[in-house]
Amino acid sequence: MKLHKVGRRYGLRGPWVLRDVDLEVPRGALLRFEGTNGSGKSTLLRLCAGIDAPSTGRVTGRPRTAYVPERFPAALPFTALEYLSHLGRVHGLRGAEPARRATEWLERFGAAGHARTPLAELSKGTSQKVAVAQALLAEPELLVLDEAWTGLDRTARGTLDRAVAERVTAGGTVVFVDHDPARLAGAADACYRVVDAGLRPQETATRAAGATTGPCVTVVAQGPPGADPPAGLPGAPTTAPGPDGTTRLTVPAAHSDTLLHALLTARPPWHIHAVTPEEARPDRTAPRPESP
């Protein structure tokens, strides 16, 4: 997807919220947008999702899209399951598939007990889980998350992190805004800051530098003797030789499940020795000794 000289303002004489924005969103990328309140992040996401049309310029090549708003106070006359089934069909699913996937995603987010609750009676957090499930059940090629984590409990935030990693691993593109700077830290491929109606690329702590912030997971795995880890592993792990011919692979925590899945299903499969969560990525520089 490409944004060509995209500008947006509300009303014929309103101020420009965005102006002359050029952006290429590659397939399979995870993009983060930052900015202060009212800087135009949400407008940018709505343009990416195709909900808004740009006032100037154009957006080309947008694939099948799903969007999650920040709040989902949906006073709709449906139960959670009915709503999700409807949206699944709108996304192009057929037959029993929408209801099946809706149930599955509600279960994953711990909201299976609310499948038959009317949307109007759901708590804020559970409504947000429905909003997230609505987008994920369609397995969209482009997933647009506007502070979708807001209102979710800690477990559900983790589930959403992993769902995002799965989407990216499956070749989908994800763009997101979140107020938590540690959100998917280390997993994002690029970060842009919305300033003065324009986009500024932000330095992401790149993996090449080996110094990302945020929680990581180290997987100690063993492949066939002498084999290198398979190419294109999810989360682009940093690898280091481990003891006894094993390999230590370190990824951002959100990618741990997708990495394990890739290793276990590789041909030939890799054997997993250990999985260890770590608070920060172990970089190759020795820890600075404590000063007395």
Binding site: R46, A49, G50, I51, D52, A53, S55, T65, A66, Y67, V68, P69, R71, F72, P73, A74, A75, L76, P77, F78, E82, H86, L87, R89, V90, H91, G92, A131, Q134, A135, A138, V144
Partner: protein, 222 residues
Amino acid sequence: MIPLLRYHFALLVGSHRWLPPTILYAAYVAIGIRAGDPVLDGFGYVAAPLLPVAAWLVRAGVTAEPPAARACTAAAAGPGRAHLAAVSTAALAATALGALGTAFTALVSDPHSADHRVAVPMGPATLAGTFTALCCVLLGTAVGALANRPVVRSPGRAIPTAALAALLLLVAAGSPANAAVSGLVTGSPRGTVTVPWLPLGIAAMITAAAVAGACALSSRRT
């Protein structure tokens, strides 16, 4: 498009916002149509109120979703298609009401002229009645599309605008709805049936343009 129509139909039914216009229309038909009345007058009588009823149902349809839910649907289906589905669902609901009203009139009315002397052929008369009802539904849909979001967003302006536009389209000479209804009513004394081909054609074109315009605006004025 079918899943979108299903979704909007379920929304319209579940929100119960179809009830007030439907009850009013049913009451209007029940009061006005009596067994043995001249059929052409009856067709005109049941067709005219479909114009405001259709506009009302379109308002119910396009305002059924809260903005957050509308954004989710728009991302999945495109804002224009989502809006088209909401308008079409309402238009189909109004068409169903019109079909019931017209069928009821055809069943209970007297197939004669106003003075009960000249026989009115029921085939052409029913066709004329159906086309007149359709003409009113279409123009009501056009009013609903142009007098609601995304064109007119504040309810304080949308509702009076729609009411006034519906009234004008019913009474103003030159309006296709007025032409179709008066064609029936003025033909009744002598039992002549005028099938409103031209008004229906013009109404269809006006409505297509109005709905297309509203759908095109739906991604620009949010």
